[in-house]
């Protein structure tokens, strides 16, 4: 019966177009990510100061970064500062000419992520950023480099003039500091642009995907009424039991297959093109302030799982609305509303931001939440929002299944 449910979806012109659109979205995402046209501009600036893209550029960038592979300890930090100073002292480094500045930038590409971390570590305040900070440092200490991260956090949290002072409870402040202190140092640095590119763009595909999947499943229950097939359907032996569960299974199977196929293809194309190296590096190489002490590959796994749970929940919710309202139009708007309402409300108040962070859409943008400080205190215990929302939506999805089942099977035809 699941086969017939899928046939109802993909047999229609709308279903076929939706599937085509989904496949096109995956292909386009892969193409853009691999070619460095998305959030992360993966390019190589050559000796002439010109930007190169494509596989050759990736190879050159990888070679340059590989020269800086290893633990980011005293020796490597010193080497990075010295190299940065040496380049700055060259005529190209001193020049205000864009072409020459680009040439100087090109020489720094191998250690640019390290330079970026130095900028962040030595910026004046926790919430400030100075792009040229590394250029003004001549001596660097490993302890200070890593220690600044926690010190700046503490200063920010206990600065009575800053909103953070009242924003977090003492338990939450201690939790934040504890997370920072737990991070193992020194970091291991390697070329990791493949992971970085994937994670930066990882939200786009599931977000677009769920809108398309939402369209596909929106009619799974309501179309029975729209097509007036409900009378025959409910008068049959299995209409109110096995056939109803087949509808739910078909919806969940659809989202599972489409989501994982898309995300795995997208992962392997992006990583295959830009490189799998660097999976064991901590995410702080790119998200310096992150509370999540995890590596890039762990972030990849969590991104996929969170995205899946988010997609699964939104699919189940869409199906529930479809069964409840008998309207595909209302059902299809569900993912749209849930996805876009938060973006309108974001930034209004801090408590609202925490609520928004708890919305299922945040599961689709796990990587974007790595750098946020959304905390929830439950019975005195502090959690990161993602620690709560991931199991919460997994449970809600499981709980929705019997609700959808009962909602549809009890329908009376008036």
């Amino acid at each position: 019966m699941i086969r017939y449910e899928l046939k109802k979806i993909f047999g229609s012109v709308g279903g076929k177009i939706a599937l085509g659109l989904y496949i096109a979205t995956v292909i386009l995402s892969c193409f853009l990510a691999a070619n460095g046209f998305m959030n992360v501009d993966v390019k190589w600036v050559n000796e002439q100061g010109e930007s190169e893209r494509g596989f050759q550029a990736v190879q050159k960038l990888r070679e340059a970064r590989n020269e800086w592979e290893g633990y980011l300890d005293q020796e490597m930090l010193t080497k990075a500062i010295q190299e940065n100073s040496r380049i700055n002292a060259t005529p190209e480094g001193q020049s205000s000419n864009v072409q020459k500045s680009n040439i100087a930038y090109g020489w720094k590409q191998g250690f640019s992520p390290i330079r970026e971390m130095i900028n962040r570590s030595y910026s004046v305040g926790f919430r400030t950023y100075d792009y040229y900070r590394a250029d003004r440092i001549s001596v660097i200490k490993e302890e200070t480099f890593y220690g600044n991260r926690t010190r700046q956090l503490k200063d920010w949290l206990y600065d009575k003039t800053d909103v953070a002072y009242d924003l977090y409870t003492e338990a939450e402040k201690q939790y934040l500091i504890g997370q920072y202190e737990k991070l193992e140092t020194p970091f291991y640095v390697d070329y990791h642009d493949g992971w970085y590119q994937f994670l930066e763009n990882a939200a786009l595909l599931p977000m677009l995907g769920i809108l398309i999947i939402g369209y596909m499943v929106a009619g799974i229950f309501s179309n029975e009424f729209k097509w007036k097939a409900d009378t025959v359907y409910f008068s049959t032996l299995l209409g109110r039991n096995k056939a109803t569960s087949s509808k739910i299974k078909a919806g969940l199977l659809l989202v599972t297959v489409l989501y994982w196929a898309a995300m795995l293809i997208y992962s392997f194309v992006t990583l295959g093109y830009l490189g799998f190296e660097g999976g064991n590096c901590v995410v702080q190489l790119r998200v310096w302030k992150s509370l999540y002490n995890i590596t890039f590959w762990q972030a990849w796994v969590l991104t996929l799982i969170c995205g899946y749970i988010g997609n699964l929940f939104l699919t189940a919710l869409t199906m529930f609305i479809s069964a409840k309202t008998k309207s595909s139009v209302i059902a299809v708007t569900t993912p749209f509303v849930i996805m876009f309402i938060p973006s309108f409300l974001q930034g209004m108040t801090d408590w609202l931001d925490t609520v928004i962070a708890m919305m299922p859409v945040s599961l689709l943008e796990f990587y974007q939440h790595l750098g946020t400080f959304n905390l929830i205190t439950i019975f005195g215990k502090v959690f990161r929002v993602m620690d709560v929302s991931l199991p919460l939506y997994a449970i809600l999805t499981v709980a929705l299944v019997p609700v959808i089942y009962q909602e549809f099977r009890r329908k009376q035809i008036v």
Partner: protein, 295 residues
């Protein structure tokens, strides 16, 4: 094989679509006759468990059909008035899907679908999409789906609605063929649909059973007579106002009226045998069948 309806009532916010309806059905064809809005569809929806009654019971061999749940629906074949289908399914896929819904194993279903496609004359159209079928073909697909599980109770709600005369006759014959060893309940507001094939006819009005019996019983039950009267053009309107006129046939110089009246309506009126249509008019009035069927 006993389908019993006892004091069945369906109340929609004070409006009784079916009001204290009782009847017992066993093997045979039953014609449920009533004007649009008489409550036929509501009654059938309760008989197919699509809708729960406000009060009263429906039992199958003594057991409540709602309590029987799937066991009862296993016995059912239903062709609703607004027969819906999956527009992008082929006829074959549609029937195979309904067979799956009826719990028929795929191997058995394939054989059954093949037989029914032949019986309803849709073999050539088996791979056509449902949405591309003509009205008559859709109805035939509808009867095929209702017959898939070889039902003991076949409920057909206005099965000939929207069909042209030849399709209507063909459909009637098909129902006759399928009526063996089962209860067939056929609702209609078109007398000729059931006149020849129903063993028993149930006349329903305002949610209630007015009268039931064989075609002859019902005709005999009418306390008035039927007359044929030839009148001039100028008298037609007067007669239409004074009498129940079941038919007006224009003839040179006037019209030949079929009048239902206890007494001879005009001097030249000749008494003739009553038909079921005359009875229908007698019970339901001249405006019978003009409203849309919503209940």
């Amino acid at each position: 094989m006993d389908l019993r309806i006892s004091n069945l009532t369906k109340d929609f916010d004070g409006f009784k679509a079916v009001n204290n309806f009782s009847y017992s059905l066993d093997c045979g064809v039953y014609g449920l006759l009533g004007v649009n809005g008489a409550g036929k569809t509501t009654l059938m929806r309760m008989l197919t468990t699509l809708m729960k009654p406000t009060s009263g019971h429906i039992t199958w061999d003594g057991e409540d059909v709602f309590a029987m749940d799937g066991k009862y629906r296993m016995l059912l074949g239903y062709l609703p008035q607004d027969f819906g289908y999956y527009p992008d399914f082929s006829v074959y896929d549609y029937l195979m899907y309904i067979a799956a819904l009826k719990g028929i194993r795929p191997a058995v279903a394939r054989q059954r679908v093949k037989e029914l496609l032949k019986q309803v004359g849709l073999v050539k159209a088996r791979n056509k999409k449902m949405k591309t079928l003509s009205g008559g073909m859709k109805r035939r697909a509808g009867i095929a789906q209702a017959m898939l599980n070889d039902p003991k109770i076949l409920i057909l709600d206005e099965p000939t609605a929207g069909l042209d005369p030849s399709e209507r006759i063909r459909f009637r014959n098909l129902i006759s063929e399928l009526s063996e060893d089962r209860i067939v309940l056929l609702s209609t507001h078109i007398v000729s649909d059931i006149e020849y094939i129903a063993n028993d006819i149930l006349l329903m009005k305002d949610g209630q059973l007015v009268i039931s019996g064989t075609s002859e019983d019902i005709i005999d039950s009418m306390p008035e007579s039927v007359w044929i009267s030839r009148v001039s053009k100028s008298s037609i309107d007067v007669c239409l106002k004074r009498f129940k006129v079941s038919n007006v046939k224009t003839v040179p110089g006037g019209a030949e009226l079929r009048i239902i009246s206890r007494k001879q309506p005009t001097e030249n009126a000749i008494q003739v045998d009553a038909t079921l249509e005359d009875v229908f008019l007698y019970y339901f009035g001249e405006r019978a069948g003009e409203d849309d069927d919503s209940v």
